[in-house]
């Protein structure tokens, strides 16, 4: 925990300049021209293999996720995009017979997220996640946002202040400020999903993982979430898994295309959608399969 706090201070003080000097390895490999204009790397995935029992779901993945940007992971069902995302907060650890190989280095602290010696509880406090289905707790709206802060043992006044800030960041404050004590289940699906985003934001995470966050929502609620994601990248590095390619094109700066557990292409989103370098990517994007 102490480490997490120090890290955050680091980021706000002198950390930035140091981040900029680091060159992401994978980007260099795929597109040197893009790499030059890229900001610092937030998380670097190196030779990542992941296994469900004997089944290998991810094969030698190498991606450098840039800081304060939105990176989309796309690919057909079962390609391993959610599996990859769920490595970042070690949620796989909840299930038996799962195994990681390789490294996911979180910068600037340099901690290897998937190292068995790394505490998954700490990683989950530093990296927030928003799930496919809105999964608000059956508690009050306030208690939902406050929960992460309560885990940190924050004081009441701090909790109230940070909860409000998180709800504002999630563009939900004006809709709920007069009914914080009401059950979260009184909110609409889209509001619940924004509440889940606020809940994840409340503890100032370094990264935010979105696992198909709009697949259970209507187009209007989807548009609001997408808008929100674009504003949030100012404060936090975002990875979003989506099966909706228009969504990837709309919200992301960079896109990774996964197929059968392998990384096929990783490049700037504009390039990926206008001029993909891989034949397979082109076929997927143009709807020939998937």
């Amino acid at each position: 925990m102490a480490e997490a706090k120090m890290d955050r201070q680091d980021r706000t003080r002198g950390g930035r300049a140091e981040e900029r000097t680091r060159t992401p390895v994978a980007v260099q490999q795929s597109d040197a021209r893009v790499a030059a204009s890229h900001p610092a790397t937030k998380a670097e995935v190196q030779s990542l293999n992941f296994f469900y029992g004997k089944l290998q779901a991810l094969k030698d993945i190498n991606i450098a996720f840039p800081s304060n940007r939105v990176t989309a992971i796309i690919g057909p069902s079962g390609c391993g995009k959610s599996t990859l995302l769920r490595c970042f907060n070690r949620i796989h650890d909840l299930y038996p017979d799962t195994r990681y190989e390789g490294r996911i280095t979180l910068q600037p602290s340099g901690v290897n997220i998937i190292d068995p010696a790394t505490d998954p509880v700490e990683m989950r406090m530093r990296i927030g996640m928003v799930f496919q289905k809105p999964n608000a707790f059956p508690k009050s709206i306030f208690e939902n946002v406050a929960f992460g802060l309560r885990l940190l043992g924050e004081k009441r006044s701090v909790i109230e202040e940070k909860a409000e800030r998180a709800l504002r960041s999630a563009a939900l404050w004006d809709e709920v400020k007069d009914r914080l004590k009401e059950s979260a289940y009184a909110l609409s699906g889209g509001q619940q999903q924004r509440l889940c985003i606020a809940r994840a934001l409340a503890t100032d995470p370094e990264m935010l993982l979105f696992d198909e966050p709009t697949s259970a929502l209507d187009p209007i609620a989807t548009a609001r979430i997408e808008e929100l994601i674009l504003t949030l990248k100012e404060q936090v590095t975002i990875i979003i898994v989506t099966h909706n390619m228009q969504q990837a094109a709309r919200v992301s700066d960079d896109t990774a295309f996964l197929y059968l557990g392998e990384l096929v292409e990783f490049s700037r989103t504009t390039k990926m959608f206008e001029n993909p370098s891989n034949k397979l990517t082109e076929e997927y994007i143009t709807g020939h399969f998937g």
Partner: protein, 302 residues
């Protein structure tokens, strides 16, 4: 065309026939219960008054009451709940949330399901050997309460697990994703969200235990007792006393059994009165269970 209609008419006839069969089957259960209640009411209602509730049993049917047995039932149920609820809920939570799935836990699971089906008198025998002879707890309220706790433990465990299973996995993942430890997930989420199902299971289990006779007779409950256990509350410090735990006892169903087996018809009427009290207590317990379930369901919909 007419062929079509003929086939439809035939299928509708089948529908109608099953409808009738269903109604008859349902009525068999309801009518039996109604007749039973009516019988008890007509026999026992006249006997049910304040003196009946506040008198000790007696050789004279008219003076006999159920004071010692309803107090016994109450105290036994208290001990049973105190022992079975924490043990059962903790075991249920462990098996559902903590234990790894392997052949040992599978074996335990199968055996818990089996335990729920063991005849209650077997529990009486076990308690007689273990609690009365081995641990020398005597033929006391403590022994009786623990015996019934063993009896309902599997039901409480199963109910807890069922209740935990209704909580969507997404809720667990959400709680873990915020950095909760397993205990925090259990304490702040799983237990509160499953309380409806767990409480319902516990109350159903208690209402089964309240009518148990065989295991208590096996461990040596009295059938005739004309004094109350020492009070758990004292006027002098430390104000509470555990002496009552070691007092002999009787319970309502044993009192009933005792009265029914007498030749004198007046005692059978007494038994009906005691039975009425027992049924009222059981039905109110079930009503509480329904109320809890209703209130929790209103708050939590997955």
């Amino acid at each position: 065309m007419s062929d079509f209609r003929r086939i439809i008419a035939k299928r509708k006839r089948q529908d109608f026939v099953f409808n009738i069969v269903g109604i008859v089957c349902t009525l068999v259960g309801i009518v039996t219960l109604g007749a039973l209640l009516f019988n008890l009411l007509s026999d026992g209602l006249a006997r049910l008054d304040w003196t009946f509730l506040t008198s000790f049993p007696s050789r004279f049917a008219a003076r006999a009451g159920i004071l010692s047995s309803w107090v016994g039932t109450l105290l036994i149920m208290f001990v049973t709940a105190c022992a079975a609820v924490p043990l059962g809920v903790a075991a249920g939570v462990y098996l559902e949330e903590y234990a790894r799935r392997n052949w040992v836990t599978n074996l335990i699971e199968i055996n818990i399901a089996n335990l729920a089906g063991v005849p209650s008198i077997i529990y009486g025998l076990m308690a007689l050997g273990l609690l009365v002879y081995q641990f020398r707890l005597g033929q006391s309220i403590l022994t009786g309460g623990l015996t019934l706790a063993f009896l309902i433990l599997p039901i409480v465990i199963v109910a807890t697990r069922e209740a935990l299973r209704t909580i969507p996995q997404g809720i667990r993942e959400a709680a873990y994703a915020l950095g909760s430890t397993k205990w925090q997930v259990v304490r702040h989420h799983l237990l509160p969200y499953s309380v409806g199902g767990t409480m319902t299971g516990i109350i159903i289990a208690l209402s089964r235990a309240i009518g148990e006779t065989a295991p208590l007779i096996t461990i040596g409950a009295l059938t005739f007792i004309a004094f109350l256990p020492p009070s758990p509350v004292k006027s002098a410090p430390p104000f509470v006393s555990s002496e009552w735990l070691f007092s002999p006892f009787s319970v309502l169903p044993i009192q009933m059994f005792n009265w029914v087996s007498r030749p004198d018809q007046d005692f059978v009427v007494n038994a009906a009165g005691a039975g009425l009290v027992l049924i009222i207590v059981t039905l109110s317990l079930n009503a509480v269970a329904i109320l809890i379930r209703y209130r929790v369901r209103k708050r939590i919909k997955w």
